[in-house]
């Protein structure tokens, strides 16, 4: 893979009313080009990703026209549920590696927050569904929290753990958010605050769930050569990989806990020659607090049931030996699906994270989860000196 990230642009990142997703996407793409020091007209590829519930009328291929872009050599919608952002980046990286495009912008935009309305209006929508999977709605299992709760409940039970394991994730992630001006929730979260909050779906409480925002994030992917001449320190894409286990839901298998990261980890570490010990920081998809725990185990940082060790001793926290979700993640930062962990990794590897800058930030693991743990993409990024 010969590709690098040269631009990062955001728009919105607010719980207030915003323009529609397509307009936020246009603003973010423009900001990403500006960040790279390139004119918008230098973009020759677009990869659009959106939440699985949105259609072309929300955000689609005609973003090209809104940006006034002509003669693109790539224009695509990348859909892989919550993993769409890394799926888009992977497509862009392959395109620039294969010389079919030179400057590809990947963008995600979503506007789930309707000021004055509960979030369940956006994320717990009435659905009927089709086939066996649709039985979740007959059972009352609406929204992501209900489904991730099934994984969290089983994780705690199988390993004989208590809810404090989830609390550690939420509290640690908030410590990082306190250092990030763009985070949604920056007030320190005490253990008392955590346990005093209401359950959404047991064992998941309010602070085990993502902080939704209206916003867009765009990332400009280009060749290492062009990236070296851009305005920002390049961030190299060292490897990307997918893992979609299709775990059967019957005895002998564990669909609640089996994580696509185990498949991707083999490919990522195999391609780079790196292992968990050579990763300086992790940016995991953390729409719910259970997710980073399962990702840590899937990627071999800890044996099954031991991921709590990453949090218990403060290793994942600011100043720790293995910083995790250093911008506050989805939990306390902002939920823009797969773009949230990617954007934070870019900022850290540039050395531009200000108060929350990780001292040793040369390599980062970024993960995206979709359909709980059914669909997964992972990526290893390297700082400028890691040019492959």
């Amino acid at each position: 893979m010969k590709a690098a990230i040269a631009g990062l642009g955001t728009a919105g990142l607010t719980r207030d009313a915003t323009p529609p997703a397509a307009e936020l996407a246009r603003q973010a793409v423009s900001a990403a080009a500006g960040d790279a020091g390139l004119p918008v007209s230098a973009i020759d590829g677009l990869v659009v990703c959106r939440t699985s519930a949105a259609g072309d009328s929300v955000l689609g291929l005609d973003l090209q026209r809104a940006l006034g872009l002509r003669d693109l050599t790539l224009n695509r919608i990348a859909l892989c549920e919550g993993a769409s952002a890394l799926a888009a980046i992977q497509l862009a990286a392959l395109a620039v590696s294969g010389c079919s495009a030179r400057a590809v912008v990947c963008v995600f935009a979503d506007t789930p927050v309707i000021p004055g309305k509960r979030m369940s209006a956006s994320f717990g929508r009435l659905k009927t569904g089709t086939g066996l999977e649709g039985l979740r709605y007959s059972a009352g299992l609406f929204g992501g929290a209900a489904m991730y709760a099934l994984s969290a409940m089983r994780y705690l039970a199988v390993h004989g753990l208590g809810e404090e394991v989830l609390a550690d994730v939420a509290i640690t992630t908030r410590q990082w958010a306190a250092l990030n001006p763009a985070a949604s929730y920056r007030k320190p979260l005490t253990r008392e605050d955590y346990f005093a909050a209401r359950y959404i779906a047991e064992p998941l409480r309010l602070f085990d769930c993502a902080a939704p925002v209206n916003g867009a994030i765009a990332v400009l992917v280009t060749t290492p050569e062009l990236a070296a001449d851009c305005a920002q320190p390049p961030v190299h894409i060292l490897a990307c990989a997918e893992g979609h286990p299709g775990t059967p839901d019957r005895s002998g298998f564990d669909r609640q806990l089996n994580h696509g990261g185990a498949i991707a980890a083999k490919a990522l570490f195999g391609a780079t020659g790196l292992g968990p010990a050579e990763i300086d920081l992790c940016e995991f998809y953390d729409a719910f607090s259970i997710s980073p725990l399962l990702a840590l185990e899937a990627y071999g940082f800890h044996p099954p049931g031991e991921a709590r060790q990453a949090y218990a001793g403060g290793n994942a926290a600011p100043g720790g030996t293995m910083p995790i979700n250093t911008g506050g993640g989805h939990l306390s930062g902002f939920y823009l699906q797969g773009m949230t962990p990617l954007a934070e990794a870019i900022v850290q590897l540039r050395g531009a994270a200000g108060e929350r800058q990780v001292a040793r930030a040369r390599t980062a693991l970024v993960t995206n989860d979709g359909g709980r743990f059914d669909y997964h993409l992972g990526m290893i990024l390297g700082a400028a000196e890691h040019r492959p």
Binding site: R125, L126, T128, G129, L132, G134, A139, G140, L141, A157
Partner: protein, 131 residues
Amino acid sequence: MTFPPIPEPDAASARFFAALDAGRIELLRCADCGSMHLAALICDACGGTQFATVPASGAGIVHSFTRLHMAHHPAFAEQLPLTAGVVELAEGPRLFAQLVGEGTLAIGAPVSAEIRDCDGRGVAVFRLVAG
């Protein structure tokens, strides 16, 4: 009476939902390898495409569960906190279902199926077996 949303059958689940609407849980046993499925057109264990229909015992265990503290559908508004989860049938396959009854709620707890008639459609709920 407000009924919960009931999925439309797809090709793989047509036999399952037809049986459920008739008040029974039926399983598909792969003719080649014997793997049990609730819905399948192709066996994910062996690639077989021939299945025999066999009745489920209705017995199972709780594979995972949650208690939901917010109702997203009027059918559940009076039942909060709503208990739902994944049930592993004694024959092996699992399905999402509401859990009811006073028995101990825990992973591995025994449950037994009750088919509710919802205006002609069947819904399987699982009752926690007391003791």
